[in-house]
């Protein structure tokens, strides 16, 4: 019997190794897998490369992982925000490497990794600082920049419901990077608000088929969402 349900966030993140590349879902706090990040902080893995749209908000979640000095490098599109003080301090102190990538390139680089594509030409960022040193090509009279895929060892994402085969559905704009990150990591771990029975999720509305998901982490007791 296939059963991807893990007993706890701690068990699900136990094998994340030092130096791992970890994708973390979420756009700001919407879709950020807080329980998994907290478990990763407790677990202690260091020298991580983190892929996220932002670089943490406030002092919880990704910001707390940064403050714990566990992240060597971050690949993101929008680090600077009103409440990004955790990242700002590390960056100004030269204690974190930043790879800034336009948001659509970030998404497509993740998608390409998950789809087995070795790279792609995009018009985004042509002629800008963010395309410096990159291969360019003119296709049908338009300028394009070559971008490479981003693969990860682990993806930590948040979904609304998941079943024991790993099928996932999301909730509203918390979907954001979850479905593409799920495809791009060797081991995708999904924190869900509710575990569904096998067959309960309508196959017509499953967003992430279970093939992309290795581990499903239910909510802590007393925190389950009602169906």
């Amino acid at each position: 019997m296939i059963n991807k349900i893990f007993a706890s966030p701690q068990a699900a993140v136990a094998d994340i190794h030092d130096g791992a590349t970890v994708m973390i879902g979420g756009f700001g706090n919407a879709g950020m897998p807080l329980a998994l990040i907290n478990a990763l902080i407790d677990q202690g893995a260091r020298e991580l490369t983190v892929v996220n749209n932002n670089a943490g908000n406030g002092d919880t979640g990704l910001a707390a992982l940064l403050q714990a000095k566990r992240v060597r490098k971050i690949i993101c599109s929008f680090p600077r925000q009103v409440d990004s003080h955790a990242f700002d301090a590390l960056y100004r102190a030269g204690q974190i490497e930043l790879e800034l990538t336009p948001q659509g390139n970030l998404a497509e680089r993740i998608r390409a990794a998950g789809a087995g594509i070795g790279g792609f030409f995009t018009p985004t960022a042509y002629g800008t600082l963010l395309a410096e040193g990159k291969e360019t090509r003119v296709i049908d009279g338009r300028h394009y920049v070559f971008e490479t895929p981003i693969h990860a060892d682990f993806a930590l994402i948040k979904a609304h419901c998941g079943d024991r085969w790993g099928n996932l559905v999301y909730r509203k704009t918390a979907r954001n990077f979850g479905p593409i990150m799920a495809t791009a990591a060797k081991c995708t771990i999904a924190q869900v608000a509710r575990v569904a029975e096998l067959g309960e999720l309508d196959p017509e509305v499953v967003v992430t088929p279970g093939i992309f998901v290795k581990r499903v982490v239910p909510p802590a007791p007393g925190q389950e969402m009602q169906p």
Binding site: G104, P123, K172, T173, N176
Partner: protein, 213 residues
């Protein structure tokens, strides 16, 4: 000189957005445009974090942390709206499916180059988000900004001195003084919005205007 307020610029932009348009309003000043879209037109707002059919801010107490816009503020979803992931959201932009995006700017060049993501200051932490994707992706790129900086320098320039967001990507500029079209012949004045003459508008603009339409 009587310049338009920011609200009035937003109102002027909204006036030009047609029935049925799929539109992305950038973070900051362009967000104000949504307050003035004519109620009788069905206009579908896209937010790059993954929704189409974005509605106004929720009433107090009705906020949902899973339903936010690109500025991470709580929003609502209109009947007929949809959610999607990031790769689809940016396919909508890059693939030319959005009719219009409205962006703020530090500078726009006479050739339609846009600078709006980074001041280039040595101590600035760069952040780009979806700005470069919007600039190259939407079928029409409208910029709304003040015509001049606080110190009176034209924000319409021959060559951008700030790092660019996109090359030759701007189609139209709405300022507190005028509406200008970027054309192969140069900047053409579509409408003067302040109580000034063409000569005075030229005086306030850092490049030679190509005439009036």
């Amino acid at each position: 000189m009587k310049r338009l307020t920011r609200e009035q610029i937003a109102m002027r932009v909204a006036h030009d957005i047609p029935e049925g348009a799929y539109v992305n309003l950038g973070i900051g000043l362009p967000t104000k445009v949504s307050n003035y879209l004519p109620a009788q037109r069905e206009i579908i707002l896209h937010s790059e974090n993954g929704l189409l059919g974005m509605g106004p801010a929720p009433s107090p107490g009705m906020q949902d942390e899973d339903l936010i816009n690109a500025g991470k503020q709580p929003v609502t979803l209109l009947a007929g709206g949809a959610f999607f992931h990031q790769a689809d959201s940016f396919a909508m932009m890059r693939g030319g499916h959005l009719d219009i995006c409205v962006l703020g700017a530090f500078q726009v060049s006479a050739g339609g180059d846009l600078a709006n993501w980074h001041t280039g200051a040595p101590d600035a932490i760069p952040a780009v988000g979806g700005a470069m994707d919007l600039a190259v992706g939407a079928r029409q790129v409208f910029v709304m900004m003040e015509h001049q900086t606080k110190t009176g320098e034209s924000k319409i320039v021959e060559q951008c001195t700030y790092p660019v967001t996109g090359i030759a990507c701007v189609d139209r500029i709405y300022t507190d003084l005028a509406v200008l079209d970027v054309t192969p012949a140069g900047l053409v004045v579509r409408e003067i919005l302040a109580d000034i003459s063409f000569a005075e508008l030229q005086e306030a603009t850092g490049v030679k205007l190509a005439g009036r339409s």
